[in-house]
Symmetry: C2
Subunit: 392 residues, 2 copies
């Protein structure tokens, strides 16, 4: 497997385009094939999520995807559903496909009716710009960003020649509402919708689902995986899974690092848990802890907060067996070894680790064999500023 | 029932004292009788919690309580247990009671050995200052504060003459570790330890357990309820429960309002839930949401974040039935009525509510009869500052 350029446009059979003004953004992706999706578990579900979930349940096939930023089309009742259907109809007409083969996604402010007129007015231009060039992907990625600062795209080519590419947005907001997570992943492999679903759920559980910016779950989260088949290759599924895992984990890390106000990526590795569920609980609880997140922001190797978070995670834990290291990916310093606290007060290496732009916290519970990794970001003044600004 | 002055010293049979320097604080409470406690559910449990929990299990009786601030005596292994036992022995010797009748509590930094010498050096002075005067209670309350800004004490007298008084600390830290919640409640009623336990668990579930500052659960949380019997009155238990509920709720609100960096108290009232568990889930999820907390800080009536938090709380919810109001306790403004969004963009009353120092969010799910209330505070720059300061 090697990393390649181009994002989703590296995938044969995919064309993308997007535009953005101060008011809204619009992206269009042409790429047809079996498709699987995972969606927000929030019980307040945005209209585009309802529509796309239904389309996928009925057809397991997507020919095109239309996405707007600037308005989440959530908590908008019947009018919201009609607006989402209208977005699908507009895209289907342009692409010359069935409207039930269109995926619709939205991100932005909750509880305001969508300006479908704006979308209609700008769709011609976006359609005309559809391109398999990397710039097409880049423009689509930009169009779905809200307060994201960094474009999030990843693409790889497997040994067998199959390509997988994905774009995502996350953790930003055009107005202080929800930091929706959206991801669109394409492959040119020949794979059935059912296999795609299995692979997507598996990859999602150890990537997007292990990423926490602030613990708030959006009404609009959506990740779609579509296989165009344009490579004419039916890959070994285990190989494909490895490639897909890589793409989703890289996108998840990009989203975490670009979390609202973030200055650092935090990676929490948990080893020696009794089972996978426990490992994930511990990793996510630590990466979600506001006390841990603010300590990392302050370059403070405050391991007491880390073990306390592990302790209230609900996972099995014996404090006399816990070990803990901080690392920057190159050097690691042990803070606790099987419950014994190390004196690190004058450790210069630890100081430099805490100043790194990636802080890796490794916890070993020494209870079993299970491990998990979670990603998050520090809690900063800017997180508060971004989310406290009065705009309603 | 009427509110009276004096905190725990309003309760007959209780003497208290405390002192504090820049390094540590020490409080001593003399007050003997049947006692019940509730303790942290964190699996990393501080030594004083282990000791006091064991003492209460074995004896259901407390004659005196010794509390230090400045060091949590948590994650300190065998040495920590020995230190907690030594604190109990020192207090027992002074008060002339059995050491197994001493409750021990600590709050402060995790993972450092306790300076028992300091406690020994200062205990004579604290013992000599023991007093039933309100100032005794005030000094004990101050001694257990860390970065708390406000002393937290409440006392009431029931119609039957029984008094209940409590002190608490919360949400502050002497060093950036845990914001331990400690509460010591006394009554001069004649009540058995078993009845006290029932009443305490019930009151705790709808007060301290419904309070969120940042979602981190300490290794040292403890609330103790002791009945000195000094009023010679055996009260009606339902009446006693009402008084106890009042005291614990008022302490919880004081802790929430004095949360780290907080500028406002947030109260979330949930009505119409399917059952009590759902009502509590919704209330706590809303009051824990960093997005809601930062919106309140920014005076932003950002109801989209409130319904989204309700949606991911795990409780049953139908978005077409949800109603939502914001209030300052005097005036209320409806933002959503059975799923219909009100236009409040020019509402001056709403603006003034958001500027109030108490913001009440009322959610009606219109699904059943259950209700719950939770308390929290806004998320501010100061929360980040306090917890990001490098001190390790």
């Amino acid at each position: 497997m090697r990393v390649i350029d181009g994002g989703i446009c590296a995938v044969r059979g995919v064309h993308a385009a997007g535009l953005k003004d101060d008011y809204m953004g619009l992206a269009l992706i042409e790429g047809a094939g079996p498709c699987a999706g995972v969606f927000t578990r929030n019980k307040v579900v945005a209209a585009p999520v309802v529509l796309t979930r239904d389309n996928l349940e009925n057809h397991k096939y997507v020919a095109g995807t239309i996405i707007n930023s600037g308005n989440a089309n959530a908590f908008t009742g019947e009018q919201g559903m009609a607006d989402a259907r209208e977005m699908a109809r507009l895209a289907a007409d342009k692409l010359g496909v069935q409207k039930s083969h269109i995926a619709v996604a939205s991100t932005g402010v909750i509880g305001r009716f969508l300006d479908v007129g704006w979308i209609k007015d700008h769709l011609d231009e976006v359609y005309g710009a559809l391109s398999a060039d990397p710039q097409g992907c880049r423009n689509a990625t930009k169009a779905i960003m809200t307060t994201d600062l960094i474009e999030k795209e990843v693409s790889v080519e497997l040994e067998c020649g199959v390509r997988i590419g994905g774009i995502a947005k996350g953790s930003g907001m055009i107005e202080p509402n929800m930091g929706t997570m959206l991801a669109f992943i394409y492959t040119d492999a020949i794979l059935s919708a059912d296999t795609l679903k299995e692979c997507l759920v598996k990859a999602n559980d150890s990537s997007f689902n292990m990423m926490v910016v602030d613990g708030d779950t959006s009404t609009n989260d959506m990740a779609l995986l579509t296989a165009t088949g344009a490579s004419s290759i039916a890959p070994d599924v285990a190989n494909f899974q490895r490639g897909l895992d890589y793409v989703l984990v890289e996108l998840a890390k990009k989203i975490a690092r670009d979390g609202e106000g973030a200055t650092k990526l935090i990676e929490v590795q948990v080893n020696g848990a009794s089972d996978l569920a426990d490992a994930r609980k511990v990793a996510k609880t630590i990466v979600r802890s506001p006390l841990v997140k603010s300590a990392i922001y302050g370059h403070d190797p405050n391991w007491g907060r880390v073990v306390a978070a592990a302790g209230y995670s609900g996972a099995s834990l014996d404090q006399d067996k816990v070990s803990l290291k901080f690392s920057d990916g190159k050097n690691a310093v042990t803070l606790v070894d099987h419950g014994q606290v190390a004196d690190t007060s004058a450790n210069q290496q630890l100081k430099s680790i805490m100043e790194s732009d990636t802080v890796i916290i490794s916890v070993d519970l020494s209870l079993g064999e299970a491990f998990a990794v979670a990603w998050g970001c520090d809690l900063t003044y800017d997180y508060v500023r971004i989310n406290a600004e009065y705009t309603t």
